[in-house]
């Protein structure tokens, strides 16, 4: 019940953002508001198990969202560095690739997903596969320095941030 309600409210907010500027009740027309209420109630009922698996409401804590906004700073910096690195390798063609394994010790699905996406967008690394039992990540590294790398070398301290955001 609670998860259906929260999903419906989230869907309604997204609908309002997409239809902004259509009329003159605040910014929306009455037809859009009625259609949005009906559609978001339907979305809440049918999608109640998608956002909150196992009735777990830890992501409603606003502190986690503040940490997420703070995380965007180091993340965008690492992403800019990644692009300059790729530019260097496109121009010189100097690569030394390989697939290595790291164990980030993250347990939740959301944490692993965020870490995998962050790794894909940051310097020289691309997540290839996940061992779902041991929570290990297999990573394609474009410039292998050691065959058994430390976590810090690959993901720039992202696991510490993600543990605060998503665990």
């Amino acid at each position: 019940m609670k998860s259906a309600l929260i999903t419906a409210v989230a869907a309604f907010v997204l609908y309002l953002i997409l239809t902004v500027g259509t009329g003159n009740i605040l910014l929306w027309s009455s037809a859009e508001i009625i259609a949005g209420v009906l559609l978001s109630i339907a979305a809440g009922i049918f999608g109640r198990k998608l956002l909150f698996k196992n009735e777990d409401y830890r992501m409603l804590n606003p502190v986690r969202w503040l940490y997420f906004i703070a995380y965007l700073g180091p993340f965008l910096f690492a992403m800019a560095k990644a692009n300059i690195d790729v530019a260097y390798r496109v121009i010189t063609g100097r690569i030394n690739p390989g697939i290595v394994k790291i164990s980030p010790n993250l347990k939740t699905d959301l944490g692993i997903t965020m870490l995998g996406n962050s790794i894909t967008l940051t310097p020289g690394t691309l997540s290839v596969d996940i061992d779902e039992k041991a929570n290990d990540l297999y990573i394609h590294w474009i410039n292998v320095k050691h065959k058994e790398p430390e976590i810090e070398e690959i993901c720039n301290g992202f696991p510490k941030w993600i543990r605060r955001i998503a665990e």
Partner: protein, 119 residues
């Protein structure tokens, strides 16, 4: 003034998009091509879209509200792009490894040593 900022953002975006496409031609195997195409086209698209968002927000104040709607929708499209692009790259890399395409000139391949993961 604001036009110069938009020109700079568009130029950075076009440069990185071009770099990603050029890397797609130049690199030797699937995984390195994914490096070039995912990182560079995501970063380049962020900058071209930021150019459009700044354009929309600026003319929202001076001309009409339809420019504001343009900026908001461009921001949502950008958000969808940034979330979906690395996930798609991960899916392609995993599928390539499972279908038997291994990295060329690889120094080490821990995943092949372990054998394919059964989930």
């Amino acid at each position: 003034m604001i036009e110069t900022v938009i020109y700079i953002f568009l130029a950075i975006g076009v440069f990185f998009n071009g770099l990603g496409s050029f890397g797609l031609i130049r690199f030797p195997d699937v995984y390195t091509r994914l490096h070039a195409s995912t990182k560079c086209t995501t970063f380049g698209s962020i900058f071209t879209s930021l150019g459009v968002i700044i354009y929309g927000v600026y003319y929202w104040h001076t001309e009409s509200t339809s420019y504001g709607v343009l900026a908001i929708h461009a921001f949502i499209a950008l958000l969808a792009l940034v979330i979906t692009n690395p996930t798609g790259a991960h899916a392609i890399a995993r599928a390539a490894h499972k279908s038997g395409v291994y990295p060329k000139r690889a120094v080490v391949d821990k995943l092949k040593e372990k054998g394919d993961l059964s989930d």
